[in-house]
Amino acid sequence: MWHLTLAQARAHRARLALTLVAVVLGVTFVTGSLALTDTSQRLFEDQFRTATAGVDLTIRDSAAFDSAMGVEVERDPLPAGIVDTVRGVDGVADAAASAVGQGLLEVDGRPAVPAGPSVLSSWSPAPFGAFDVREGTEPTEDGDVVLDVATARTYGVSVGDRVTVRADRTGTLRVVGLAGFGTQDGLADSTVALVTLPTAQRLLGLGDEVTQVQVVAAEGVAPTDLQEAVGRRIGTAFDVATAQDTVSAGADAARSRLAMIRVMLLSMAGAALLVGGFLIANTFSIVVSQRSRELALLRAVGATARQLRTSVLGEALVLGAVGSAIGTVLGVAAGYGLRGVAASFGVALPDGGLVVAPRTLLVSLGVGVVVTVLSAVGPARRAARVAPVEALRESRTAAPSRRRVAAGAVAASVAVAAVGAALGGAGVALVAVGAVAVLVALVLLGPALAPSLARVVGRPLGAAGVTGRLARESAARAPRRTAATTTALAVGLALVAFMTILGQSVKASSAGTYQDVVSADLVVESARAEMLGGLSHDVHHAVEDVPEVAVVSRVRYGHWKDAGATSALTAVEPETLGEVASVDMVAGSIDALADGGVVVAADEAAERGVEVGDMLTMTFARTGDQDLEVVGLVDERDAQALATGYLVSMETYAEHFTEDVDASLLVALADGVSVADGERAVADALTGFPTAAVRDLAAVAQARAAAVDEILGLVTVLLLLAVAIALLGITNTLALSIVERTREIGLLRSVGTTRRQVAWMVRWEAVLVAVLAVVVGVALGAGLGAAGVRALSGSDPVAVSWPVGRLALLVLVATAAGLLAGALPARRASRIGVLAAVARR
């Protein structure tokens, strides 16, 4: 039987070609996503490993946790004297102190802004430092700086040039050398400025303190033993980590930073595979029905039903294996492409050679083969059901079974109920249930609904004359084919519509809320995409000194652990917040924050069952577990405008956080000063701070919307791949159906249908399927989108905004794409000879 399977696969090469493309594309996506995120992870890990290569222990101030949301927490500095204490511990060969922090590099007055951090560090010679001088010398005097080779190359800096570094203080430094990092030319997505320890301390405002002490163990001393010994000597106020701890902590941070993009890429890959699965199932169905006479003949000469089923599944196995293999190879190349796509939508991933883990290969090959074989199960069962007598009979399409329709009706009711409940305010989980139920209903009911839907939606085709009517009938009379093709495209389009509506609504509501709550005339924010913002307090002072400015109120963000889970809070200045924002309180007052405590968003408070006067345990990196009194409850929409559900005062923040940067400054102008004048004055005052940007309220709201747009854009582009696969499905299905309809088309030609008319008949059918998919897809996407928005917005419903323009565009594009998808089969159909109708077979 196996040789028959292979012979079949070979004989149907052409029919399976486009199916192969679907498998290849889906697998390419999976491989690319995995390879890309693995690569980023590996690059980050390598970086940590190189950084700690020659060092056995690193001593820093202790912290309750190392990183949150992929951002390493800042720690308090250490007294410099600790180095000597450590040197005195038995088993320590040597120890060295260093100062490391953030320092923005400026070249020729222009800031060099990398996607990642701007590192400012003291120079440590080997074995403590991982940098080695490639050109020039190491920094020896105050005012010397060494840059990494990659940064120097990117910004055109050479030895002897002058650059400015902005940290706590600003310094103009002379480049005395260029350094490499292990085998790399620098750190991924970063700029690195290496200076002498005193320079670093001065610029970072550390006084005579340092940020870390690195220790090398004596020959034969195990790092873990030494860790204990050092810990005993210096006490629990300090954190002693082995090189291994440091690497794994860094890797953890990197992993959580990459988690979101990985999940996103893999879900899009999943969507592509889902759509591909429909296409595969459809192709096999058609091939099986075209071969039913042949299958019947095989049955007549003694093949068992089981053998036929195995044969079809074997064919799928071959196809899946070949497609996955090609897809995996292409996927490695696609990794680079995906990085480019992500970068163009503002998601930066480090550059470097791709890492292809064995797991990636296994997953990609496995997923491709499993999806292909699973998709072929239905058609294989149908092949096995072909009765031997059918060899002698014209095949007919069987009506969908009653059981199938009943099951479909149940799924549809579940979907309607779930979406209805979500619209009424039930949880997000119900929307997911609804989405799955919709998919099941679509698959089960598709063939039953296709004929009437095709006739209704295809009514306007009557105007296109007999070709249009023939196209409509052809679609209506092959319900299984039409349903499968339509469903594949509809799923892709529904996802696009869903994301568009969700994104648009989130955008509109967040912009609306922000403008409802914040009444400031101007907002100063960092122009860089930093998780906690990045305005030094010099910015705050500079803005305060502007005569046109009446009030400046600062806002900061910080991470904390909520019973182990990472959460975020916002620090505000209660005394001035009222002048730049109108925050609605449900209970208590925001002024009470001045005496410590925390204000919690009403919905969060309800969820945890806390009220004003209760205590809330919060874990801070710097101070560990702390009990804060709940002094007020804030309206949750207003809390949203301030970014988190927990508000504390600046003083409380300073107590528990080492971080000392503002996220934004809310500015109220003096009476009689116009916003334009005020903005100009503040901008003038900020010329010394190239990364601080001042904007009016509308512009800020717009910038927030733009951030949503970027992610939305990325998701849409990635989803379009699924749509493209679905369009391939239309091409494939029609091309196959034309093989099936050779005699019919020959007949039409013989009674006087022109080539053009035949071609149009096929094109119209493609357009009909596309439009059908648009109708179904957009309707489902809109329903689920609306339900999703309602479910996500909680007790205070966010209005669903309908991006009518975008949806209209989707309809137009899909229709045009349908026309395009019909081009190839139309050509094929128009080439069918007149004599095909009478050809003996």
């Binding site: 007999v466 023939l470 052809s474 007949l747 030609r749 009674v751 006087g752 022109t754 004599l835 009478v838």
Partner: protein
């Protein structure tokens, strides 16, 4: 030769002269038509007979503009087909020719009525109601117009096909073994229909057949052997056709 035997008074509906049609090339070349000359008289029922592989179907395809020739001339009325493009031949078929094939005559997705109207719809012509009624009445299918081909018997399907061939009032109707798949009673009904079309409706009909009894319905029988016309009979009887067939078959051995 054979053509000179025809009475000069008859007008010519279609004509093939010295037509050569080959399939394949070099060693595998088959001369399906090897200098065939034939004239189809207007208003008569002509049958084409000959052994299997003698080129009957090929001749019909060539005469009907379904296929091209290697050399020689083919005319429908005054139109020379060999110089027409594929699209021009398509239009010619649509407007001036009707077909009945042995099987698979109907578009499965259209009803019987729609199938019958197809040539008119394609040409965007309005059916002539009186004529249509007469055709439908003649083929006796009026009650089943709303049915799809899969819901009709083989004989009914062939009758629908005949109706379609006649409804646009083509100059010639070509039929290739229209009764080949039917039992003799149903076959007789279809033949009677074609006969009726030539007699009462004034059609010109050309039919390829293997069956001497079927050929006996015709006004004239043309015999083809190895791609050439070798004999013909006017007003044949079944017995005469049998005799001629036997003679030609024996001569061939």
């Amino acid at each position: 030769m054979t053509t000179t035997l025809l009475p000069a008074t008859r007008t010519v509906a279609a004509e093939a002269r010295a037509v050569v049609k080959t399939y394949g090339k070099a060693e595998t070349e088959v001369r399906a038509l090897d200098g065939a000359d034939v004239r189809i008289d207007r208003g008569r029922f002509t049958a084409i007979m000959g052994p299997s592989g003698s080129g009957k179907s090929t001749l019909m395809h060539v005469l009907a503009g379904l296929d091209t020739v290697d050399s020689g001339q083919v005319r429908i009325g005054d139109t020379e087909l060999t110089s027409l493009t594929e699209d021009q031949r398509t239009l010619l078929r649509r407007e001036r020719i009707g077909f009945v094939f042995q099987s698979f005559n109907l578009v499965p997705s259209l009803t019987a009525g729609e199938n019958i109207a197809l040539p008119l719809t394609l040409a965007r012509r309005r059916p002539d109601p009186a004529w249509t009624d007469r055709v439908l009445e003649t083929v006796g299918i009026a009650g089943r117009l709303g049915h799809r081909p899969s819901e009709l018997s083989g004989g009914q399907q062939q009758r629908v096909a005949v109706a379609r061939a006649l409804v646009a009032r083509p100059e010639i109707v070509f039929a290739d073994e229209p009764t080949g798949n039917l039992d003799s009673r149903t076959g007789d009904a279809v033949l009677g229909l074609l006969r009726h079309a030539t007699g009462e409706l004034g059609q010109t009909v050309v039919m390829v057949t293997h069956d001497p009894a079927a050929a006996a319905h015709a006004d004239r029988v043309v015999f083809l052997v190895d791609g050439r016309v070798v004999d013909e009979l006017d007003d044949p009887t079944s017995a005469a056709v049998h005799a001629a067939t036997a003679r030609l078959g024996a001569g061939k051995e």
